[in-house]
Symmetry: D2
Subunit: 366 residues, 4 copies
């Protein structure tokens, strides 16, 4: 016996190593390195077999002068010698870097991304700045006028399982919102199969851990206020609604999304209520989901009777999908779970990077 | 200045004290004293100005021999000298006791309540044993055959705000489920006003703290399994559904209730989705709720734009109600919050006791 | 049977009501009404049978213009119509107010308290501004020069169980720190009995819930940073150390206090390590504690073999004390628990108010 | 640029892959697969580049018949096709397996380990059954008579940083307790340097997450009981004390260890109080720790002024060490943090496996 690899990791590692040998290392910079999504990007890139961190930048809190990584992220002590420096676009170019991740506020991405594209870099933007195809929609949902139309036009919406071909060729990938990923992956199979009675409306009731709200200070995120609490917010107005409508082809007035803040650090659980437009058996529903995601290594479809929960996905890059059906009344409830920092943000961003640079999508993620 | 009482407590205390002087002390026994609802009943009775604890009994964990109160409930150390003894119906009678609270499994109540009624005692049952008017429904929802038809017939459903008159006269009050209280108080005003489009269905997505699942051991309630987690359970099958249907007059196939387990100790947040059957302004909706609960001291209706959260009600006996309206699409979301041990269980039980014995319903509860 | 009162509350209520009838209402103002200690003071005053809220003031976050109480404290919705206004000393005087509670930063108290004393008001200051008898110590421990020497001279350290007589007569009570209360109550009996080998040193390892750090925003108190974490801080430098040394008569170099931040909202658990200076039996130790606190209604001494924990005291105004003894080696561990907002702050402040105005110390607190 | 590997993982991956190519795969079985330590072992083995899972066994809860992995551990869905079967020693032998990990109760290990050694297998036991060299000590600390003296004699205490040479050659490694690892790694450098005044005593105040207490049901571990709580337990009697005394060469009466239960899932923070026997500068202390652990890839020594916290190590296999010094009084506080499931259990077990089978100790762990 002299073949390396655990039962689990064996094939992935062998394939990945081979591929990495054949391919080339992806040189990656992270803007927004001091936030939670930034931390997750650094963690995933540091352990990725075919990536190398080149720059860590931050425009915010720790942006004044260079800081050590462990100053912002104690758990990453000793994981990289790349310091966190102030955001400096002029230091980023093809000589040193292949791709820049933006885990910044959307204002920062909106401003910086076009310049980096012009410099010949590829960009994966984790903010909302390039998610909506309709530039005019930004004033309503994001409160600013969009002035980067060319970049917006070429941006590919990075919901990996739905748009893999376009993502492979993209210069700019707009990484989906965490809630949006959770809801779109649950509904896309049903809607594409035209199984849903849209007239009665679709309800998405989502619950998210607090890291989804970022590291910026706010009384709403003060420990004592979140702990032993749960609250709904952004009713009818959350920014992830328009990207869900866009990706799913739904009418706003028949699609309701309500986010809630959970007292956990990581994870989103979405409970999604639809009425089917004709009777279905549970086996049919399970089969439909399994077929749709048969080739998707980061989506796990549960057998009928089992439901995902946050602990099943926290710290992973999976989206888990389960369902319950009341066949008599054609009511279907889909439950979707993911880690808002994993498949909901950094994990999906790395998944997209993998496609953009010729690696298997799950490389470094399982 | 020589009138006692804080701004807040003044009237209540004065009234209560006066009433207590005029009236008589309620002598109360608690069966199921070692659980969380039992603890809350003891706490509320101990501070109630017109109640006196006579017996604490437990059929379960601590039921072998008498135990001190602090053995089961460290926070109640020194609060009462009544020991917790094994359940012994024969010790309960009119000579010592006016009312018996059952915070036991429904099997225990089903068996014991008729005997206590026969002994001339009044009973407030916090289990599900007497909530469903249709005795035949117990086999489906609770898994047992109901054999206490006479008691079931006279049982009054103790949703205080809806049934006050019957409760005053009742010998047996069946205290509502925690989820049921949360949902019924939110929907009753809308349904009685006939504002709801029932055809498209009503969705109730509820989130509960772990004390709602009781103190019985289960891997699902082991600390590590609940902490940093959230999960849905009981989809289409939760036992509180039939009492909601019964109280609200709804068809099962158009009413969906999904409970979730939150990593908090106390509190329920219900997010309830309805479509109105004609256009309404937010002010109309708020006004309708305020009118409905104008005389209800334990329901707090929020102004449009504010929403209740769990911290607003944890440790209290209130139900808080708020809403958001998308007037254009006639979508209404009602958010309801209560403490599952307070208004969701022990608080409402004491509220019912107050009515049964001639006190203001909020006595000892605010 | 026509005597009101629960088994528990009976005597207290009757006594209190009688006393309140004979005595007079205490008219109380709260400065610092928007913080957590402020909230607890309002809660306790609102339910106190002999107190009336006159003013709620805040110099901070919500200090611009008047705000409703529920805006700052959702759980207090409907509890009082007194609005929260900006801090305005000129509105406070004997015509309207008997006592002012300061739950403000120490800078605010240091400045404002002398003026209020001059206006003829009594003050209970919950900040550290008047805790240290040595004015010169403030520069080291608090980082400012003390300029209110006259007030400092007359201030009485409000550790109720130790200083009741002086507190009754005081115009200015300096309420102890939460950690200090926890430690002093555990050690005072041992030290006064001269049972401790001080040479080997006393170690106090304390763990506090996050509300003890206040409501001010800080990354260290951001939900995600506190949740699933525990950290030590302020080693050898915490501000509560000098008041412990002062109250206990200890040398700094033989007394070590280390606070830790726990992921809970409320409560302090102190584990305190001493070596006895001669052999003792467990029964002796228990007896000594029981004798010391025989007349203290808010200290609960545990029987040997039982230890307090945070849940036993959270939401209460008690300090619970237990211990373990290794008789052979004369090692004694005392475990002390209290609620940092209860006996550790607002509860003790009300306890002191009770003494200052002639009520039983536990009035409104049990 | 065509060399694979992230900045962080590059060397480790390249070295490991090369080594794995040259060496041989370690075929590993896990007994006690359904518990938390079992889960962590499976997780680490599944991603280890040179290990392969051969058997998963459980004598407990899920031990009746084979179960899928995700049935016990939802997060491991899809990670391995090895089912969890009842404990069956007869299925384990050199033909299929190189090493067996025991993450079982100590009674199970005590019984099973000698048999497996006889069958020619190597064993890493994570229970306490083989930690104490003195067989007679088991009756006092563990409550049973030790009957496996031969195995006990050859067992090597697997505190990797202290015993690497013996571990490499061992057939039976007794993996240290989680608390013991936390305390021993903090104190060993100081004690070996003879810097400590042992006469005044050493105090170790440790705080652990609830997974350290295992997955077995107990009211003490019920969610509602642990959440919003903290308690001390096992004062003077915890089972990890004798292995600390043994490893550190300390007298019981001068060494006090108190564990506490924290409301977190993972992690131990130990605050350790010593008095130095002569004056030292902070730089000296830091240097001493750095020198001691210069070659230890899984111990991270902090610069003076920084302290580890649980979030810095949760989910990792590191032990982090920091300290604070009051030079004038020669008081030193060492703060140690690790993940009780990582370096405190499964991580250290894999670290030991690495040494036993010729791999770098950190392989698969960083």
């Amino acid at each position: 016996v002299d073949i390396p690899g655990a039962t689990l990791g064996e094939e992935t590692l062998a394939q990945t190593t081979g591929r990495a040998r054949r391919g080339r290392v992806v040189r990656a910079a992270v803007a927004g390195a001091t936030g939670y999504v930034g931390r997750e990007l650094i963690t995933l890139l540091a352990r990725h077999p075919a990536a190398r961190l080149t720059h860590l930048m931050s425009s915010g809190r720790d942006g004044k002068g260079s800081k050590s990584l462990e100053h912002s992220h104690p758990a990453l002590r000793g994981k990289s010698h790349v310091p966190i420096q102030p955001l400096a676009l002029e230091e980023l170019g093809p000589a040193t870097t292949d791709v820049v991740f933006f885990a910044t506020p959307h204002e920062t991405s909106h401003h910086a991304v076009p310049e980096l594209l012009n410099r010949g870099l590829r960009v994966i933007d984790l903010s909302g700045a390039f998610r909506l195809k309709d530039a005019g929609a930004y004033s309503r949902w994001y409160g600013f006028e969009h002035h980067a139309g060319a970049a917006l036009n070429e941006a590919v919406y990075g919901l990996t399982e739905l748009n893999a071909e376009e993502i492979r060729a993209a210069r700019l990938v707009s990484n989906p919102g965490c809630y949006a990923t959770s809801v779109i992956l649950a509904l896309a199979p049903l809607l594409r199969a035209k199984w849903v009675n849209e007239t009665v409306g679709i309800i998405c009731d989502s619950k998210s851990g607090a890291s989804g709200a970022g590291r910026g200070l706010s009384e709403k995120l003060h420990y004592v206020e979140v702990n032993e609490n749960c609250r709904a917010y952004g009713l009818f107005t959350h920014r992830h609604v328009p990207e869900m409508l866009q990706a799913l082809g739904l009418e706003e007035e028949r699609f309701t999304f309500t986010p809630h803040l959970l007292p956990v650090n990581r994870g989103i659980l979405s409970t999604i209520y639809v009425r089917l437009n004709e009777p279905r058996e549970a086996a049919e529903v399970e089969g439909m989901f399994r077929d749709f995601y048969a080739a998707a290594p980061l989506v796990r479809v549960y057998e009928h009777g089992a439901l995902p929960e946050i602990q099943a996905v926290a710290g992973t890059n999976y989206t888990d999908l389960g369902f319950a059906l009341d066949a008599a009344s054609e009511r279907l409830i889909v439950v979707s779970a993911l880690d808002n920092l994993g498949k909901g943000a950094a994990g999906q961003a790395i998944q997209n990077m993998n496609l953009m640079f010729g690696y298997a999508e799950e490389t470094g993620l399982v």
